[in-house]
Symmetry: C2
Subunit: 123 residues, 2 copies
């Protein structure tokens, strides 16, 4: 078995724009049964990420404005990178997902620690 490339396990990313309501973004996370939503601009380029952890922070701190919980500095990966590289990048920054982008910064999809953990369950 050779290296596993991220393009073989990448899944579509749920996206939102930054002028949406916090409740609307929470509903999108629940409807899609995911923990991560990628924030994109009008051109489809990545501008941030919001996770269920950020929504939890909003509850803990009484924040009602989505823009106050969006993470702007986003760690990403390229489709031709491998899962061991992605796994080390996530562990290094204590995060549980990497948006997969092309060389122009356009969002192609997302890989989560759940997707990577599944690989260890393959016989």
């Amino acid at each position: 078995e050779g290296p596993v490339f991220l393009r073989s396990i990448v899944r579509p990313a749920v996206t939102c724009s930054e002028d949406e309501d916090l409740e609307a973004v929470a509903s999108k996370l629940i409807e899609n049964s995911v923990n991560h939503i990628v924030v994109t601009g009008p051109d489809g380029k990545l501008t941030g990420i919001v996770t269920s952890w950020d929504i939890t922070k909003a509850v803990a701190q009484g924040i009602t404005d989505l823009r106050k919980v969006i993470t702007r500095k986003v760690f990403t990966a390229l489709p031709d990178e491998t899962v061991d590289v992605a796994s080390r990048r996530m562990a290094q920054h204590g995060i549980s997902a990497l948006p997969i982008v092309d060389s122009d910064g356009r969002v192609l999809g997302i890989v989560t620690s759940e997707d990577i953990a599944k690989l260890l369950g393959r016989r």
Copy 2:
């Protein structure tokens, strides 16, 4: 290398009781920088699990009572089980963590998909 047993990667679980406020549980998740909190009874036994996804559901649905978002039927694992078994169990139920319990149902710790994904980053 040989099988990896869960006891070698298990971490302490953040716990709460079910009569705590939703905001207090949200604060515990943020203070500990985790997504999962195990609900235990007065005897230290597992009675449920709450995650940042459940707090997000509360926001999406305007729920303010913690008891309405606690998941009662919890999938768990034993310390002598291996990571591939845990990984398959999580994938099968679409969940991202397994509380680790002893044969009496007492909580020993927790293993998350983030902990398992990290294994793929080890050289």
